[in-house]
């Protein structure tokens, strides 16, 4: 299934990935061949099964809602690329 250049650009936008022109061309070709190969999945008869998200069907594992303190706050903050005092510095969110 051929993926168009516009589709590649749209997907890259959704995934928040800036791609170079070369990368767009390469991914257009490679995604097309990968998706072609994935066409075979349509041949499988899946009418008897439900989608499986977790192998053992575990759901909603709960614990008591008790806050736990992270012992080393500084190390978390130190990993942020940009900081000001005890805050992670980000770009303006609302223009």
């Amino acid at each position: 299934m051929a993926v168009t250049r516009a589709e590649v650009e749209k997907i890259a936008g959704l995934a928040r990935l800036e791609l170079t022109g070369e990368e767009c061309a390469l991914y257009q070709k490679q995604l097309s061949s990968i998706l072609d190969w994935m066409e075979e999945l349509k041949g499988a008869d899946t009418s008897s099964v439900e989608p499986l998200a977790h192998v053992f069907g575990t759901e909603n594992v709960m614990r008591d809602d008790v806050p736990v303190r992270h012992e080393d706050r500084k190390s978390l903050l130190d990993n942020a690329p940009m900081r000001e005092f005890d805050f992670v510095k980000v770009r303006k969110v609302i223009e």
């Binding site: 928040r16 075979e40 999945l41 499988a44 977790h54 080393d72 990993n79 690329p81 770009r91």
Partner: protein, 476 residues
């Protein structure tokens, strides 16, 4: 010296932890320039810790299961206060702010962490060539790949640098490199090992797995690490400390071993097929009963896996936004807007394969394609699980090759992602079904390359797998 003997020797004073660590460091000094298994070696720290372990023994205190055993950690497993980059430029500079549960448990058993092993970036790859930092070579043939994604871990063990290494396995990432490097590794039942502190790739598939020269050392490491952890909501209800290495019958008499017919057709290398068939015969001569089984949906497994795993990855890797961790384009250019920081940080920070998978996953999950790709892949996952359930009605364990070929050459598959994906055909179905898979060596090709086989078991039947593997390795 293997892990079992090292730990026993350190506990009863035959050798010191310091000697064990020095032996590891001298093996690293001798082989690392050719093999490139490590991104970083914690030399001074490992020696200091070894001395501390020896001092504890000298003061009469008992030592743990892995006393003085040198261990390599894949670069996606967190060790507090140490770098953890997932072999990615995007995480360059990141320091782990806590330790993975697996690491906490290794340390509690007096293991010594030697360093960070190389890997495919974010564990995406089958050759270790997707590392942003270096290429690791196969210690058996330096012109070949060690396999991936836990290639550095496998190479470290195969080159005798550490008796144990931790890898992670999403679709075969401990079992395939173990096969290529002639060692042993287990992908435990989903949920047996805590994922806390393992950087997430595809959360419904990811498991940490120990790698070692033989099955008993793998079992020993699993004993130290496995079992329930409150910090991982998908952690299974298995008691920590369950013994996987000791108390085995040492016999496979009456064990029904199923040979999945789909694993011995198509693109398998004739030498690999012959060695795995020879291993099955050996099991038979040891008293096991061979039966043919079928895993009929195997042919759909790789495509379904790449949809499920890439979809989960596209979601998990959304956290790398240039704000909270690692590389940020904002640091280079203060004038960038918020969306530009996202786009540029991710575009420049991630390598080619990671971006390809994020693209594939985003596509599979996007409006209009979801049902045809993601939902269909999850239904095929259900069929793959049913295949194993049915096969385990006829057999106690299944046996097949770990990989269709021995280690391929560096660079051989780098331009063709599809060919690279297809090398995971025998490891992926087990991951999709959540059952345990143990990879162990079953010989060498005529040109001297190791070949691995896999044993699969019912969920939480790791003891059965280890008993069979250890009986095979002992050979009587």
């Amino acid at each position: 010296m293997n892990a079992f003997e090292t730990a026993e020797g350190v506990r009863n004073g035959k050798i010191s932890a310091e000697e064990a660590v020095k032996a590891s460091l001298s093996a690293i000094a001798a082989r690392e320039k050719d093999v490139n298994a490590f991104l970083e070696v914690f030399e001074a720290e490992a020696l200091a810790r070894a001395k501390e372990i020896d001092a504890r023994r000298a003061s009469g205190k008992p030592l743990g299961l892995l006393a003085g055993v040198p261990v390599a950690l894949k670069d996606n497993i967190m060790y507090k206060g140490h770098r953890v980059y997932c072999a990615s430029k995007l995480l360059e500079g990141h320091i782990a702010s806590y330790s993975a549960t697996a690491v906490e448990r290794l340390l509690a058993e007096d293991a010594v962490i030697m360093g960070r092993a190389n890997m495919d970036e974010f564990a995406m790859g089958s050759s270790c060539e997707n590392s942003a930092f270096k290429k690791t070579a196969n210690p058996h043939d330096l012109s070949r790949v060690p396999g991936g994604s836990s290639g550095g871990s496998a190479a470290a063990v195969a080159a005798g640098m550490t008796p144990i290494a931790l890898g992670s396995d999403t679709g075969g990432s401990v079992r395939q490199p173990a096969s290529f490097c002639g060692i042993s590794a287990i992908k435990p039942t989903y949920g047996l090992m805590s994922r806390y502190g393992l950087v997430a790739f595809a959360s419904s598939l990811d498991q940490i797995g120990p790698m070692a020269a033989d099955a008993r050392d793998c079992a020993l490491a699993l004993t130290a690490m496995a079992g329930h952890d409150d910090k991982d909501s998908t952690s299974a209800d298995v008691k920590p400390g369950t013994d996987y290495h000791g108390g085995h019958s040492g016999s496979v008499k009456g064990l029904k071993i199923g040979l999945p017919k789909e694993y011995f057709v198509g693109g398998i290398d004739p030498e690999v097929e012959k060695l795995v068939a020879g291993a099955a015969k050996k099991f038979q001569s040891l008293g096991a009963e061979l039966v043919e089984v079928s895993l009929p949906h195997t042919k759909y497994a790789v495509a379904a896996y790449y949809i499920v795993a890439s979809s989960e990855a596209s979601s998990n890797l959304a956290r790398f936004d240039g704000m909270r961790y690692g590389y940020s384009a904002a640091r280079e250019d203060e004038s960038l807007s918020l969306p530009e920081v996202f786009m540029k940080s991710r575009g420049r920070g991630f390598g080619s394969e990671v971006k390809r998978r994020i693209m594939l996953g985003t596509y599979s999950l996007s409006s209009g394609y979801y049902d045809a790709y993601y939902a269909q892949a999850q239904k095929i996952r259900a069929l793959l699980k049913k295949d194993f359930v049915a096969a385990f009605e006829k057999a106690d364990v299944l046996l097949g090759p770990a990989c269709p070929t021995p280690a391929f050459r560096l660079g051989e598959k780098m331009d063709d992602p599809l060919q690279m994906y297809l090398s995971d055909i025998y490891t992926i179905p087990c991951s999709m079904a959540g059952v345990p898979g143990l990879s162990l060596n079953c010989g060498k090709t005529s040109s001297g390359l190791p070949v691995g086989m896999q044993l699969f078991g019912r969920p939480f039947s790791e003891r059965t797998l280890f008993n069979a593997a250890m009986t095979f390795e002992r050979g009587n």
